[in-house]
Amino acid sequence: MSIDTAPAAGATALDATAAVATRRDIQHRLLMTLGPILAALIIAGCILLAVGVDPLAYYGFVLKRGLLSPLGIQQTLTRMAPLLFLAAGLIVAFRAGMWNLGGDGQFLLGAVTAAASAPVLVEVMPAWLALICSFVIAMLVAMIWSLVPALLRAYQGVNEIITTLMMTFLGTSLANVLVKLMFRDPGTTVPQTRTLPVEDRLPRLFDTTITSGLLLGLVAIITVHLVMTRTAFGLKLRIVGANPRAAIHAGLGVPKLTIAVFAISAGLAGLAGAVDILGVQGNVRADWNPAYGLAVIPVVFLARMNGFAAIGFVFLLSVLSIGGESAARRLGVPNHFTLVLVSIVLIVLALAEYIDHRYNQSRKA
């Protein structure tokens, strides 16, 4: 679980040979990503064959519906928005060496508070302002929710894996309680919050159904990437993550930084919830929990906590989940197969990285 610093280096390379090297590096990276995906598809294809489904037809639909058709790609891009925010939050936490596994709880609380506030706020202020306020509220609530694990870790040294897992169980329940008891839409028998009208939601991009939340997500993750790699603040967090004792030795206020990390990470998870609600869903139903967090964690690791790589992997994840849903329906495979596919892709990607690393080492020796 080491933090990779490669992106920090290599960026100053400007001369021609370096440019060639960078291009070769990118080519290599692409190969090392697409190759394993192909391998994963073949393995998953065997499972499909075993249950009597034509893998080629299945993948054809995945590609067509997740990537190549205009409708499919729009859905894919829309699905990316909350995932990008979550990934951004995880990048901050993981680079600072803190295992925030409580993303789902923070996400849900952000979503619920955004859903509770936005429909009320649009009635008293312009929609754009209401959206901003809702985003801020969602972010603050998620931040506050992370305070307990943050304080326990900062001042008591309590392991955050336990506390964030517990808080995510609690947060999921609390979100339900809020929906059912506090923010319930009185206009329907279904336990859900009031619905933000479609026209008041985040605008869609151009003439498509892609939410502008995608842009926000991209901005968020790129900002996080730049902050983490190019600023003093980001460096401080990385020092805390890479060697906490060095951070103390260098006089960094580790407890305060710890709390900041949790706040930012949780805040971004809260924003992820808000962007899903304000951009797409419009309300939160009781017992709703898309559990995006769990799938995003490995993605962030595979991207080696690099924001740009994370965008790529989130895209891949979206294509698989949107296309997989469609393909499953057409071929009569249960939707659960998508989970198997994602799992195989993750494992093979991790393996490929290892083999690549080994190969590089033996070449140097």
């Binding site: 080491s2 933090i3 990779d4 610093t5 920090a8 280096a9 290599g10 960026a11 100053t12 190019r230 600023t231 003093a232 603040f233 460096l235 401080k236 990385r238 020092i239 890479a242 060697n243 004792r245 060095a246 103390i248 030795h249 260098a250 006089g251 960094l252 206020g253 080492q361 140097k364 020796a365």
Partner: protein
Amino acid sequence: MSVAKRDIVALEGVTKRFPGVVANDSVDLEIRPGEVHVLLGENGAGKSTLIGMLSGLQQPDEGRILVDGEPTAITSPRHALALGIGTVFQHMMLVPTLTVAENLLLGGPWWQRPKTEELEARVAEITRTLGITVKLHAKVSELSLGEQQQVEILRAMVRNSRLLILDESTSMLTPKGIDELGALMRRLVEQGLAIVFITHKLKEAAAFGDRISVLKLGRKVGEIPPERFRALGEQAIISEIVELMFGKQKDDPEAAERPVRTIRAEAAPLLEVRDLAVAPTDDAPGLSSISFDICPGELLGIAGIDGNGQKHLAEALAGQRATVGGSVRLQGTPIEALSVGERRQKGLRYLTDDRLGEGTVGTFPVSINFFLKQVGAAPFWRKGVEQRAEIDKRAAQLVREYDVRTPSLKTPVARLSGGNIQKVLLARELAEGAKVVIFNKPTYGLDLSNTLASRQRIRDTAARGLAVLLISTDLEELLSMCDRIAVISNGSLVGTVENADDARTKVGRLMIGLAA
């Protein structure tokens, strides 16, 4: 060659490569019972790598190892133990959360109950013959580093080793401890064991060895066999080694004269410490009523056995550790309430003894490690944004100035050798604005040339008019550099000695608890 003196282990043309380095380059070596075979060489010369292959941690890429004359592939540490090769590694190899006894028992068949009684009897027998005591039921984390080293030696003994390898085992010991270890090695070889002894201190090599091999850049560049060894005197041996290692004639390089410096008596102290107290922790005693002054240009040494509160003292001064009383003044202004960063701003610098543990971030590039304590400061950061050009420019300057040998500024600092990491730290702490500098064991683990270079830096620092506190367990080092030497024992200063002719005996008396 006499039959009795057949090699226990012999290396023939052993080569070991790592990515980018040839750590051992066709090395031949004979290890015989009844001999202390000293391995010498600069940092990175390949000594530990050689040991790694003997103890089954690594396998040679080329060449072969003969055990009792038979070519043997030592495939695992278990195999090495079975062959009777016991190793005390350069880095601590004890489990801190287990007791000493449990650590000694580690390695038994997994289904068994640990045979504690058997062990106790065996340990009692060994410690009696060795004349050491160990606390069998104390947790390892509660022992001082010196005690831990004894446990490791004991462990090698408990396992009935025929060949005992000691990799820099004296680095943590006091002068007395070192002498005892030397006597112990002598007794052991007399019992017929073979010993491989690695050290950076040439005097130890001359005093304890029977045979010396010198490695340089992975090659064996010379050997002094026992016959010659016995024929030469200490000085002759040392100068021969120096010639082998550095290729140029030079008399005992460590015996550099202490330059006579004049400290203006009337100068106000730069650092005044009064009644400093720190609460005790698991691994070290607390500090109580520590008081001393250091004037500009003065070099105050702190002598003492490791684990007597030196680290607490340094950390308390640097602001890294909470104090429970006392005052610290820098140029007359109290700083005890300030944070680490604020103290640094005021000119207080602390060069830690734990280079990789807290001094640097190993995975970060060399360039960034120069500025770890200045993150966010202009001109390297402007409005919080990293100015890579400024950083690289200054880093390149420091690399040149301090002669840091690094492939590039982007190299992760952990890839550098220990001596070069130390240079990075020196550069960082001595850079502009320093007034008081605390050096904690600055030459620990460094080879001769790096040690000399570091000491020169420290002397230069004092010569520039800074106040220097030098904490060291190496008495020779303190005697060769300091103006005064204070002795710390069990968390308090038991006396301060002017570094005059009789300082050695006075300090020695203080260290073993007698009045100076």
